[in-house]
Symmetry: C2
Subunit: 415 residues, 2 copies
């Protein structure tokens, strides 16, 4: 596929045409209804002719900006991040996706402790203040729920937003302590090969983690995007296993137990274990494979007309750095390389961008991530061939958006 | 100065001693009073025995976390960021410092435009949607008010927090369009050497910027930390001049005019111009010089006893990358190099850390930033010698915190 060089004049010509066209919107239907129920903001006819509002202790969003997680109101459920509302790479902390199994506990940080025991020389109980006395590290990483993309795999519909397709991934700057700092303090016995991480919520969610991950890059974090963890992200402390499936990044962490073998908790037997074809199962599928999604254009946007459109989205891999993102505008027949916008550190959301000159014909936009292990994001057919229709986690197949001749954009399942 | 290697066992011994000691707090006195007026959060005796709270559309901070800008309630004034509450490098968007001259305007993004005119081939008016059609860039940069540190220079007091000393600096991931993309669209006449940037607030704040900055790294941004700009940061668009003094990063940007010379607005004649000794003045002091501040320990913290304490803070330079941060614990007699925690990109808040073994004697903690131009953060005496007592902007001298034998930490002015 050959793309002509972009003339910025042409781009503006396209934008000028848009002025008379259909209003672009990023809100899904239910949010639009909700937004419609809120009275419109009071805006002066000329904001330069009246004094503005005073300074505040804590800021609020513009009344014209209303991003929301959805669905909400559940104590066992998932609130998905509105990926279509984001630019750059950081997920605002109050919009980080939430997966909870027994509600969000209210924890007094002065009373919360972390016990390290099992195959150690000296069991130790750490207070949260203790943890802040150790040398800290700050790193940016995504967390993705292993169930992310399930609806798009099982029950795809054209009227799905990026939030509904893949909103169970978010990206933050985390600050905390390497878990090995604490384990060395307790003294790791050499026969210890796994550790159990247990959360302080009402279901005591617990997972087994190989000691190799502790020695690689596992952290116990107390801060997110510059401030203390939010309650739904594990306040006051959570485990961070960069690149591993979300539920293993145990929130409200209260106990670490070292052992010789996996602990076979219900969270790794009855859940988070995958049926495969041939009566096999896949267990301990830790790493989230490389994946990407175009967040604009996407449903329910409507392109106002032919011309240059930025195709923008995010790519990530639990195995390392994103090396390349390919874009197709013709449903995968041909591919071109996108620009990567952000610092290419490992296990982060990487923003990609591709300037697309839409000719007004029906098109199919797709993105394909490649990480620095050489892994290539698979098609839906490739994923299904390996995992079968019953697979329940790690849905990382290529996403597609159909652009109709009238500019309507819809999610495309069968690719 | 020789520092013994850190024994983590010793660190924990210190932390254990702290348990019976005085409560660490980061809240200044007035915030403590305010917090005291709020009823304590309802916390179950055992959060694992009751279901937690449900998922929400937009999250809130833990009731145990209450960072606030201060002072507030002014339409011509500054609300400073609570630097002592932050970890890592990102400033949460709702706590980014705010400097306003005529209040925060409420602007409808669908009606807001940016006019580019003056010495151009084709004047153009861009809508906000137009700007989002151009190729975007994402970059992390600090913004610092040129008046940051004035109170510490003029009226220093021992009872000053990091927020009160230097809270007019914040750091965000910004997304927008290089200004040259727009200027090339309009066609820059070769005699254009400066541009005027005018804001859409009630005082029409405007500043002159050299075209060299436009060609270097100036952006017009519409997003901050992944979401649309906050109203007090210029929603829907602001100018971003990485490393230049805050007021030049014109918020609510509505007009760019190209000319041959500076436009000599009141914002660069009656304000933001500095008296120097010998009846001279300093005008167009664009770049913020290298600076740093230790944010912990700081007033009003009280160290619970001798032992290992992390000395943590931020360093930044408007000229490039932070190359090194030196720490002194004896008032500048000897210095040791701190660890730099975050990616070393240019013109950002860089988090530094130094593990200090406090022997219980009176100590004086200082940090000194060095940037990649070789510039070294000056002492107060060095700054005063060059600028005189009447200087009104760019207060970047070394900050010091006195640690008394009882663990009390206070701001030290005369260094």
């Amino acid at each position: 596929m050959t793309e002509k060089p972009i003339s910025r004049r042409m781009l503006i010509a396209g934008a000028a045409a848009a002025a008379g066209g259909v209003l672009l919107t990023n809100l899904p239907a239910e949010a639009q209804q909700k937004a419609a129920a809120v009275p419109p903001p009071v805006v002066p006819a000329d904001p330069t002719k009246v004094p503005g509002a005073p300074t505040t202790a804590v800021g609020s969003r513009s009344p014209f900006v209303n991003p929301q997680r959805a669905p909400v109101g559940e104590i066992t459920g998932t609130a998905l991040s509105p990926l279509q509302d984001f630019t750059g790479t950081i997920t605002p902390s109050d919009l980080h996706f939430t997966r909870i199994h027994a509600g969000i506990p209210t924890i007094d940080p002065a009373k919360h402790t972390l016990l390290v025991h099992g195959l150690v020389d000296r069991p130790i109980e750490f207070s949260v203040e203790d943890l802040k006395r150790f040398p800290a590290v700050t790193r940016t990483h995504f967390i993705e729920c292993s169930g992310n993309g399930r609806a798009a795999y099982r029950t795809p519909k054209p009227a799905m937003t990026p939030q509904q397709v893949d909103g169970m991934t978010s990206n933050s700057e985390w600050t905390g302590v390497p878990i090995m700092t604490l384990l060395n303090e307790a003294g790791v016995k050499k026969e210890a090969k796994w550790f159990l991480a247990e959360g302080g919520d009402a279901c005591l969610l617990s997972r087994s983690v190989p000691m190799t991950k502790a020695r690689d890059d596992a952290l116990i974090v107390y801060a997110q995007n510059g401030e203390p963890l939010r309650p739904e992200q594990g306040f006051p402390i959570r485990l961070l296993l960069p690149g591993y499936e979300g539920n293993m990044n145990v929130k409200w962490l209260r106990r670490i137990k070292l052992g010789t073998d996996p602990f076979m908790t219900r969270w790794e037997t009855s859940k988070y274990t995958d049926p495969l074809p041939g009566e096999k199962i896949r267990m301990f599928s830790f790493e989230m494979d490389a994946k990407s999604i175009i967040t604009s254009p996407s449903y329910p946007q409507k392109l106002s007309g032919p011309g240059w459109w930025p195709v923008s989205g995010i790519a990530w891999s639990g195995r390392g750095r994103i090396q390349r993102v390919d874009i197709s505008t013709n449903g995968g027949k041909t591919w071109v390389e996108a620009e990567l916008l952000s610092p290419l550190t490992p296990k982060v959301h990487t923003r990609f961008q591709y300037m697309w000159q839409w000719d007004g014909n029906e098109s199919m936009l797709m993105s394909r991530a490649v990480d620095d292990t050489g892994y290539v994001q698979p098609t839906m057919a490739q994923l299904e061939a390996v995992r079968g229709p019953g697979t329940d986690y790690h849905f990382n197949s290529i996403r597609a958006w159909r652009v109709a001749r009238d500019g309507t954009v819809t999610f495309e399942a069968a690719t």
